[in-house]
């Protein structure tokens, strides 16, 4: 019974509903946007009432917030952290730096387009986005999880070659030494 198509769909719907109400966010600040996470999570805006809470390690987390600019050095670590996370996993790009480079678009050591290196499910624009915007973005993430459209991790696996090629372009020696998806 479990294997027939309709039952599967029902199970998936229930799973997605449950996932959307327990989103654990990796407490890993990569840029200046990390400063907005503290008020979002603490009593002033209290994101935990909506089901978001911090997770201590990548293996326990569902969402990675990329909070702001990423230097070439940070991209390597972020890729490593992302590959350590267990499915289901989502990436939220936070701030204009992740969208188009922001004010650092002509800097030699910060990347411009995050979605060339990692699959991004939701973007939150602004420089900086206020905690309200962060919560709106996370609520949007909840919505697409419920609809079953937050499939960034699958996209990453399907187009692994393309993502790896882009990562290799900025970090040639490091990616060559790294194991593929096996941190």
């Amino acid at each position: 019974m479990y294997n027939d198509k309709n039952s599967k769909k029902i199970v998936e719907t229930i799973q997605n509903w449950a996932r959307s109400h327990s989103v654990w966010v990796l407490a890993y600040g990569t840029g200046c946007g990390a400063i907005e996470i503290a008020p979002t999570m603490t009593s002033r805006y209290d994101a935990e009432r909506l089901g978001f809470r911090g997770a201590a390690t990548p293996r326990q987390a569902d969402v990675m917030l990329i909070t702001g600019y990423l230097t070439v050095k940070t991209v390597k670590r972020v890729v490593r952290v992302y590959e350590q996370m267990q499915s289901p996993k989502y990436v939220v790009g936070f701030g204009s730096c992740t969208i188009n480079g922001g004010m650092y678009y002509d800097s030699y050591n910060t990347i411009n387009l995050l979605d060339r290196y990692l699959p991004v499910d939701v973007y939150i624009n602004g420089c900086m986005p206020r905690p309200e915007a962060v919560i709106a973005g996370l609520a949007k993430l909840q919505q697409i999880i419920r609809e079953g459209k937050a499939n960034g991790a699958e996209k990453y696996l399907e187009n692994l070659e393309w993502y790896k090629e882009n990562q290799r372009k900025i970090a040639p020696n490091w990616i060559a030494k790294a194991p593929d998806l096996n941190w």
């Binding site: 070439v72 050095k73 390597k76 969208i99 188009n100 480079g101 678009y105 002509d106 800097s107 030699y108 050591n109 990347i111 411009n112 387009l113 060339r116 372009k169 900025i170 970090a171 040639p172 020696n173 490091w174």
Partner: protein, 188 residues
Amino acid sequence: MKEIKDKMIAQINAAFPEAVNKAYDGNRLDFTVHKDAIPGFLSHMKDQLGFRHLSHIAYVDWIEENEFELVYLLWSPTDKVKLFVHTRIDRENPVMHNIDMIWRQANTYQREIKEMLGIDFPDMVAPDEFILEDWDDIPPFRRDFDTLEYVNRTFWHRPGREDAQDVRETISKRSGEEIPDFAKKYSR
């Protein structure tokens, strides 16, 4: 302060006649020294004149004169005097003496200079990479390094910046305010 400074200048001139002094107000002393005299000059300053602290090593790229300049910023906590020691290095063959046996923290500054400006310190012991990883272009703080060209080659741009306006000009056009002459050169 004036007496302390004059006394110090006399002492430095006696010990290093070839060091060129430049007068400054306040508690600043300023000397230009040949690059081969730098280790001896700095250790003399530290041991004899009380400049116990190395604050920073600043660097300038004089591309027009085909030279690099290093500025050693020293501080004397007892006399409250700061000493700037300038030296010039040939840009074609950028090699400089190591001073991390005088101040340990110089090692960090020299690693930064080696990576960002490409000045070599042959007898310095330090790991290879400091700030940049996997860097295969010319050092990025040299003035002939074209940042935008590098970015266009290495990263991607998302369309949408083409109609970006100059902030100063847009505001002055809207409010009818004139841009002062000294500010015009900063407009795009």
